[in-house]
Assembly symmetry: C2
Homo-oligomer: 122 residues x 2
């Protein structure tokens, strides 16, 4: 599929997809049999990757971290050992975030109690 279809499938603008492509997260292929243009073609794997990128972004991973994960997942840039190391690193980071968020929930719940119990009467 071309970028327009990919854009519709993923909800990301062609601009943003090209930005991710330039950042090395996804990669279209050129059809060498077609000589009149040099359009990029994308496969279903790219759709998956872009969906993953969206999810990974919202948990706070940066583009370069997402790049690492994608490389550890789809590519052969890293050895098996390196891949596991990268993925473990990300799991630890997520575990830390999880704890921080739970702490923050407690804290804000406490603020709420303070407001309710009328420590200040507004």
């Amino acid at each position: 599929m071309l970028i327009h279809e990919l854009s519709i499938k993923t909800g990301l603008s062609p601009h943003t997809i090209r930005f991710y492509e330039k950042s090395g997260l996804v990669k279209g292929k050129r059809d060498i049999t077609v000589k009149s243009n040099n359009y990029f073609h994308y496969d279903e794997e790219t759709v998956e990757k872009l969906e993953f990128i969206n999810d990974a972004k919202s948990v706070g991973f940066t583009i370069s971290e997402i790049g690492q994960i994608i490389d550890a997942w789809y590519n052969n840039k890293y050895s098996k050992k390196e891949k596991l190391h990268i993925l473990d690193e990300k799991l630890v980071a997520l575990e830390t975030k999880l704890k921080e968020i739970k702490e923050m929930k407690k804290l804000i719940s406490q603020f709420k109690q303070d407001v309710i119990s009328g420590q200040c009467p507004y």
Copy 2:
């Protein structure tokens, strides 16, 4: 205390503290009895606030969201009802983040299994 001491207590640079002050998150007081300078003076509450800001940043709240929370906590800018609304909103956001992170943990654990089970032999 002056900004230097505050900086040491919180681990934030005077630059960053001034940035937060300009953003409305904290507020120093000027000592009108001193006429030779116009240095800002900060209290322990500001130390608390800055520590909160650090924690809130790492769970992904923006400066303006943190501002809202601080206003709902310390100030009388909002009514009791508004305060509870803001805090509930933040709790919902944290709950959402929590779920997303748990999902991402599952996903990355799955990637790990894929690597281990040797779907690709590197």
